[in-house]
């Protein structure tokens, strides 16, 4: 299997102006990104990645290399970043302790901060703010618990959750959405 660049749209030639030489230093300061510079491109992560096996575009080694090179926009705008299943196989097997899955998580966090947030995450965040639960659990299911002999579900405390999350960057995406809903 050949190693592709992360997304089909990314197969275009790289222009020198695309490199951000300081990007890697930004990443190694972030929690989970510390190991980035230690990668020596052995390919263990990609060869053991279950997603890479079934995807033509997703290659963790390529993502790590692109991050080292500073191809910031290409990575952050690439949809393939969201394919990682967070199975942590790469993290456990990387001979250099790069914590590959965490580096990818750091990149996703940055993509989100730059406005690229798949809808499902916004929906889950909104639901957590409203009820504590990541999914809207239908009333019917909550009522059914009793007939199945299950105790009532513990309640979330939306007001307290909001208070604790004050100042968290990601909140601005959710606040916008809940305003729209009102």
């Amino acid at each position: 299997m050949t190693e592709n660049v992360a997304a089909s749209s990314n197969k275009e030639p790289i222009r020198a102006s695309e490199f951000d030489p300081k990007f890697k230093y930004e990443l190694i300061k972030m929690h989970g990104g510390e190991g980035l510079l230690k990668c020596y491109q052995c390919g263990t992560c990609t060869s053991d990645c279950p997603v890479a096996r079934f995807s033509d575009d997703y290659r963790p080694r390529t993502i790590i290399r692109m991050a080292q090179l500073g191809l910031k926009d290409r990575i952050l705008k690439s949809g393939t970043l969201w394919l990682c299943a967070a199975c942590f196989t790469c993290t456990d097997r990387c001979p250099q302790d790069v914590e590959v899955a965490s580096v990818i998580r750091v990149l996703r966090n940055l993509a989100a901060e730059n406005g690229c947030v798949p809808q499902v995450f916004k929906d889950q965040a909104c639901s957590i703010l409203e009820s504590g639960y990541a999914y809207k659990i239908p009333d019917l299911r909550i009522k059914k618990r009793e007939s199945m002999g299950l105790p009532p579900l513990p309640k979330g405390n939306p007001e307290a959750i909001r208070k604790s999350l004050k100042g968290v960057n990601f909140m601005r995406y959710i606040e916008k959405k809940s305003e729209r809903n009102e």
């Binding site: 079934f54 967070a86 942590f88 899955a101 299911r141 309640k155 960057n169």
Partner: protein, 297 residues
Amino acid sequence: MSNNSKYLIFLGCAVPYRVSAYEISARKVLAKLGVELVEMPEFNCCGLPLDPVSHEMMLVLASRNLAVAEKTGLNILTLCPGCAGTLKKVTKILKDDKALREKINAQLKESGLEFKGTVVTKHIMQVLMEDVGVDNIKKSVVKPLTMLKVAEHVGCHLLRPKEYIGFDNPEDPQTLKKLIEATGATCLDYIDETECCGAPSVGVSDKVALQLARDKLNHVKMVDAQALITICAFCHIMFDTNELRIEKMFNEAYGIPILHYPQLLGLALGMKPDELAFNELRVDTSKLLKQINEGAN
């Protein structure tokens, strides 16, 4: 039998949303084996689903739960490996990093909470292994399932990353196997046992997700397992809810029932399939149950 263990049960979001059979069977077997459960006084999502978009938000959500639990003086038992992994990881991160802990505690203070790091989190599999123990389970078995040959799927978040989970061997896990064998059943080895079920890719690329699950089902079928045993809400949904879809899509025929481990254990402890919510399962289990009944006669 009593072993005096008492835990706060942390249900998570996926279990009450979609997988009541897991909760019902887990509560029944834990009660029978002397593990007492207390409900969480207050709950919010452990934070894991939002980690990809905001690590910070995940840290706050997880630590809120840990702080709520601390007030009760009890440790946490989870049904979901994702919740267990997250709560364990955040406990370690915040204990090791004082600056981060202070930052998070400043956030929690607003709602009268504080993370001190006194709570231990265990997944149900770990509680069954460490608190109850294989010998006690064996002693409680009244209907040994010796006629069964099954396969197990532990799931990623109970194994990796090993630095935070620190339980079992992620490359060759034994815990679930031993627990299955405690019921009298044989647990078969198969190719790529520790591989991901694909669930986290659902919604991003269903194609990748279903191919991963198909790969696993193929390997399980290859060794003629009569059932696949899971101990995770997401893995169970991935296999049980999607088995028929995968069969159609890839022109396969599996017919492999997917059981929550507590359902298997419950049968061995003498409980009836109805009590263990077998009717909630999608893949037909009637043949399997018949094999069990005939084998036990």
